[in-house]
Every structure is written in structure tokens, then in C-alpha cells.
Assembly symmetry: C2
Homo-oligomer: 372 residues x 2
């Protein structure tokens, strides 16, 4: 790969002549936004305009076209990088981003995941087998009530306890009160169990509030941070991942990103949106709905996400696929076959519903994934 350029593969649906024409239009649309006749500079024509590198027939009505862009067009900013990849073209139908290949020369401008699989395992001191994560809910409970739940989950041996992503700073459960109470509850349980469960507050917030929330979480002793880049923008996650003071693992939540993957003919492939771009922006674990749950992801799409979480990507570490929901006794063998051991299983409602004894429920699910 040319170190000065990165590659985006678009899947274009339609007939071949039209697909080729659309591919050529993308080269201009994503960069210069003028037609070829208006370009009177060799530098712009040769360096700035995207270059059609490959045009590959998938089926009679489906083509994968790979376009290379100069890394300089991104200004080495996540915001502008996303814009070059799909900014204006996102508004067109029948064009989908299915793969991106970044050279290290571009990746090295960002710090990537700070912890990754190994770093997060060290944090919770579980070196093998899947990790178990749960969520504090429902919205409407007070900080004290949520802390009581956190205590029981930690006592049962869950590894990661995150806020439900809808908990922010509501009047009935203020952020600082919740973080303080939950950090204390989990610490108290850890004292009893000798384990290293971490509490991960949701820091998805207005841009003018995030730094305060993140700093508070760090000072109180939170063990990680939950952020929804679909709500804050991907670059906010990158900024936290690169912050010197905030050395905490980041767990990414898919809220509001759905429209970017639900269409077969627009948006991003699941693996690009929920793995490649997450690693680029510094997530250490990426939450997405597991196959067979209440959302419609297929087993193949989940497999592609998990694979892209550990595929080579410059010097970036592998991160944890974190499938949510759908964890039932009968599905465990298949899920273990699919995900192997480097996975975080996120179990929300099922962990509450299994029996009234939350401590026992955690043990049941730990058992299910081979942790005893």
C-alpha cells in the first residue's frame, strides 16, 4: 500500500455501466466537489482527486470499487477523515462503505485504543475466558438504588458494570451522585470478593460538559468510561483516548448509529462501523447487538465485527467485541464457537430476570461462559 494514500472500498449496486460512472463520481464528490473540466492544476488532478484503484464484479448487479485518497486530504482529523470516506456520498443511495485500509502513516496520527484486549484484561485481572459485563437500569432509579444493584452484581463476580447508556445527568439520578455511590459500592464488593470489578459510568454528554464528567469519574475511581460516538461524534472518543490524565478504558455504545448499518445499500458494513472506526477512534470494547436478540444483526455480521476487532490495524491492539443481549443457555455453545475467549458478553435484562437473586444470577452466567 502507498503510504501516502488510504483505501476505501464501496459496494455499488446497479448495472455495470452505471456503477462505473458512480465510482468515478465518488472520486470527485469526496474530494474536490467540482467536475473534471474545472480542475486546471496537475497537483489537484493527480493528488487530491480520489483514484479508482479496483473495480470488481461481485454479482451482475453489485460491484466493489476501491478508491484511494491522499492521507493529506484528511488533515489528520477524525472529523475530516470521516468526511472524505463518506461525507457527501452518504446522501446517495446504492453506495455502501464495505472496507477501509489505512496505512500506518495515517493511523500513527491517532493513538488508537489505549488498553485493548490485554490492557482491559489486566484492569479486571481476568487473563482468560470471556468477560462478563452488565448494565445498571432502569432509568428512573435513584443513585442509591443503582449502587445497591452494582454492589450485588460485583459481589456475584461480574467483571464490568456499566451505566445503561440512557443514564446521563437526569434530576432523579444526578451524574456525580451516581458515580460516587456506584464506585463506592463496587469497591466495597471488591473488598469482599478480592476481585477487580470495574464500574463504568456513561460520560456521553454535551460537549461543554464532557471534560467535567470524565474528570469527575477519573477522580472518584471509575474503572472505565462508556461513550456513544453516534451522539457525541467519533472524535470525542478519540480525544478521551488520547488524554494524558484520563487513562481509562473506553467502551463504545452504538446508540443512534443504527441508520448507518440497517440498509443493505447505504451506510457502512457492520465490521467497518463497529470495529475499524471504533479502533481508529480509541475504543477498547465495542458494544453491538448480538445475533438472535431483539435487533436484527445476523451471525455473519457479528462474526465480521469480531474478526475486524482483532484484524491487523497498524500498531493498534485488538479490542473486545461486546455483543449485547441474546445470551441464553441454548445459544452459549454457538456463541463461544463464534467469539472464542476474547469477548465481553453484555447481559442486561436477562441478568435481572433470571431469578430474584442477582448475586446468584451472575454466578449462573459466569458458569455459562465457563468461568467458575
Amino acid at each position: 500500500m502507498n503510504n501516502n494514500r488510504f483505501l476505501v472500498t464501496y459496494q455499488i449496486t446497479g448495472d455495470e455501466v452505471d456503477a462505473l460512472a458512480r465510482a468515478q463520481i465518488i472520486c470527485f464528490e469526496q474530494t474536490v466537489e467540482v467536475s473534471e473540466e474545472l480542475i486546471n492544476s496537475d497537483f489537484i488532478r493527480e493528488q487530491i482527486v480520489g483514484q479508482l484503484i479496483e473495480f470488481k464484479t461481485i454479482t451482475e448487479q453489485c460491484f466493489n470499487v476501491t478508491i484511494s485518497y491522499a492521507i493529506d486530504t484528511t488533515a489528520f482529523e477524525i472529523t475530516q477523515l470521516l468526511n472524505v470516506i463518506f461525507g457527501n456520498t452518504s446522501i446517495k443511495t446504492h453506495i455502501k462503505v464495505v472496507n477501509i485500509q489505512f496505512p500506518s502513516t495515517l493511523l500513527d496520527y491517532f493513538s488508537g485504543p489505549r488498553f485493548g484486549v490485554q490492557g482491559l484484561r489486566e484492569k479486571v485481572q481476568i487473563t482468560h475466558k470471556p468477560l462478563l459485563c452488565t448494565a445498571l437500569k432502569p432509568m428512573g432509579k435513584s443513585a442509591t438504588e443503582l449502587a445497591t444493584l452494582a454492589y450485588q452484581f460485583a459481589l456475584g463476580g461480574v467483571d464490568i458494570i456499566k451505566d445503561d447508556h440512557g443514564l446521563t445527568n437526569q434530576s432523579f439520578c444526578p451524574y456525580e451522585e451516581r458515580v460516587k455511590a456506584c464506585v463506592a459500592a463496587v469497591a466495597k464488593a471488591n473488598d469482599k470478593t478480592g476481585k477487580n470489578c470495574i464500574y463504568v459510568p456513561n460520560i456521553t454528554a454535551p460537549v461543554t460538559e464532557i471534560e467535567k464528567r470524565v474528570t469527575y469519574a477519573k477522580r472518584q475511581g471509575a474503572g472505565g468510561l462508556l461513550v456513544a460516538p453516534g451522539l457525541t461524534g467519533f472524535d470525542t472518543m478519540r480525544a478521551i483516548a488520547e488524554s494524558e490524565f484520563i487513562d481509562l478504558p473506553l467502551i463504545s455504545h452504538p446508540a443512534l448509529l443504527g441508520s448507518m448499518v440497517t440498509s443493505q445499500t447505504n451506510g457502512f458494513a457492520h465490521s467497518v462501523l463497529f470495529a475499524t472506526l471504533q479502533r481508529l477512534a480509541g475504543a477498547d470494547a465495542t458494544i453491538y447487538p448480538n445475533y438472535g436478540g431483539r435487533f436484527g444483526f445476523s451471525r455473519e455480521e457479528c462474526d465480521a465485527i469480531a474478526t475486524a476487532c482483532s484484524a491487523p490495524l497498524g500498531n493498534y491492539p485488538a479490542i473486545f467485541p461486546t455483543p449485547g443481549g441474546g445470551m441464553t443457555l441454548d445459544k452459549v455453545p454457538d456463541m463461544q464457537q463464534l467469539y472464542g475467549e476474547n469477548v465481553i458478553f453484555l447481559i442486561g435484562g436477562a441478568l435481572y430476570a433470571h431469578s430474584p437473586d442477582l448475586v446468584e444470577n451472575v454466578r449462573y452466567f459466569l458458569n455459562l461462559v465457563g468461568r467458575t
Copy 2:
């Protein structure tokens, strides 16, 4: 409308029994994220869970369901408000947000558009008839070259000159150099013409850079700011709109938002995404692709956007629909009929291509829209 709740109308496609079941699931999914059996608090059941207000048959396979949510669930944050509206449900197919109704009690937490139609008209001193906007391009030109273009456009009498949205801080055209040169070029032309053309730099940038760029633009004398909320997050626009120091009009660009409107059965209605949410987050003008151009918006979708730009919305002012592209001689009568006079016509490539004389080209297009 109940002042403590806001209303979201979802269009659900499928058969009636399934649509009703999905509507009920949305009430839980967007708030508590647990099933009804797990809720043991009257407060949560009655206040926090969404309430199905209306279930309306549109066709045999299409239903509009209106759900009310407590405004308190939003914590009065744009990020969490978007999450309540469509966070997890965005990941489901066959559900689309087609309308939102906010009470003033919620809207008053945000400042809304600072300028709106009237404020922006005062800024450029054009009280009637459509405004004309163009973009500096292509990417790859130097700051000096772009400033030369800006000078000619301003001399011709264009009202607003914005950066192409792909210009950020590339090495071949650094942000500060460009802003300084373009502000000066436009001021020089204004001195000659006696007009009040404004230069609007693109401040879409990493979260750690935006404040610096915005402040620089303000200090240099830029007349407005261009931001792409699909890249930065909507709340970034809100923060700038509310900033005391940065009292400049905001023009919103649709980059990366496309996947949220291209599907018939997921995402947002055009009017919600490109008007209602833009006003909520403080845009004074909202760019979107005009019908009949190189993107696929229909005349009806553009009409709905324009209508929602000036529909009642608390105490917020009307904002400018800013359709881009597609401005040709034969379409002008129909566009004038659709948009009336409170519109900004964004003309990029056509203004460059019409003839080699950019000054004359501006005059030609001003004439087209009845400005002489």
C-alpha cells in the same frame, strides 16, 4: 400538549399487529431498556416509560405511532435528547422518525438559532428576495488562490461565501492562513461594492481544536461559521450557538448525515433531520441537496424541509432552507414558487462553470433569482 412531555411520531411499516407490538416495545427500548415485568416502581412505570399516545393507520402496511416521553428523561442535553428519540431504535428496521413536537419547557433549555432569517438578512443587509451563497473550492487550492476566488465572488455581489466543507486544516491550505486571506479579500471587495458579503469558514474540526478555530474566525472578522453536525455531533453546534463570545450565524452542512434519510423505512424524515433538529441545535441556515440535482431528494422532501424551517417551534426564529446545487435557468421559476423569498440558494460548481468570468457569473445568478 403536556408541558412535561414531548412527542415523537414513528412510522412503522409492517402488518398492524406487529406494528402495535413494535410501538409498545419502543416505549421501553427508548427509556428503561427492560421489559415491563422488571419494573416495580410506579414512578418509573408512569413517568419514565414512553407512553403510546396515538396509533394511526396510514396504509394497510404503514402506521404512524406517537409516543410521549418525559422531558426529564433528556436531562436537557442534546446528546441524551437524540438518544431518547432514536438511540437504540435506530438499530431496528422498519421504524422511522417522521415528526417531533417539543413543548417550550424543553426548547427553552436551549438557545436555538441566534440569528434566524431576520438576523442573517440584517448581517448581509438584504431585506428581501433570496440570498445567494457559493463555496470556495476545489480542495487543493492554496489559501491565496481561494482568496482570489472569494474576492471575485464578492465583487460580483454574492451574499455569502463559504468554505467547501472539505476544507479544514490541510497542509496545502492551513485554516488560519485561509481565514485571514479570505476575510481580507471579501472586506476589500465590500469596500468597492458597498455591500456586506460575509465569508463563512468551515470550523468542522476535532473537538480539541474547534474552540481555537471558532475564536480565530471571530477575531479575524469572519461573518459566519460552517459546521457539519454529522461529523462533530449536533451538540457542538448548540454549544457554538450559545457561546457568548461567538455571536456569528451558523450554517449547517449535511455531510455524513445521509444514511439517516436515504432509507424509506429507517432514520428520520427529511424535515426532522434537516430542519427541526437543526433549529434545536442552533443552525441559522441548513444546507441540503436540492431536488433534481446530483442527489436524490424529491421536490416534496425539499418542500417539507423548507416548511419545517419556518414552522412554529417554541420561541425559535425561522431559519433559512439552503438548497444546494441544481440551480439552472429552466428550474428557477419552480424553485421560486417552492421556496418563496426566504431561501439561500447555494451555487457551487455551476457558478464556476457558467463562464470564465466569475464576477459576471454571480451577476447572472443574482438576476436569475430576481436580484438586480
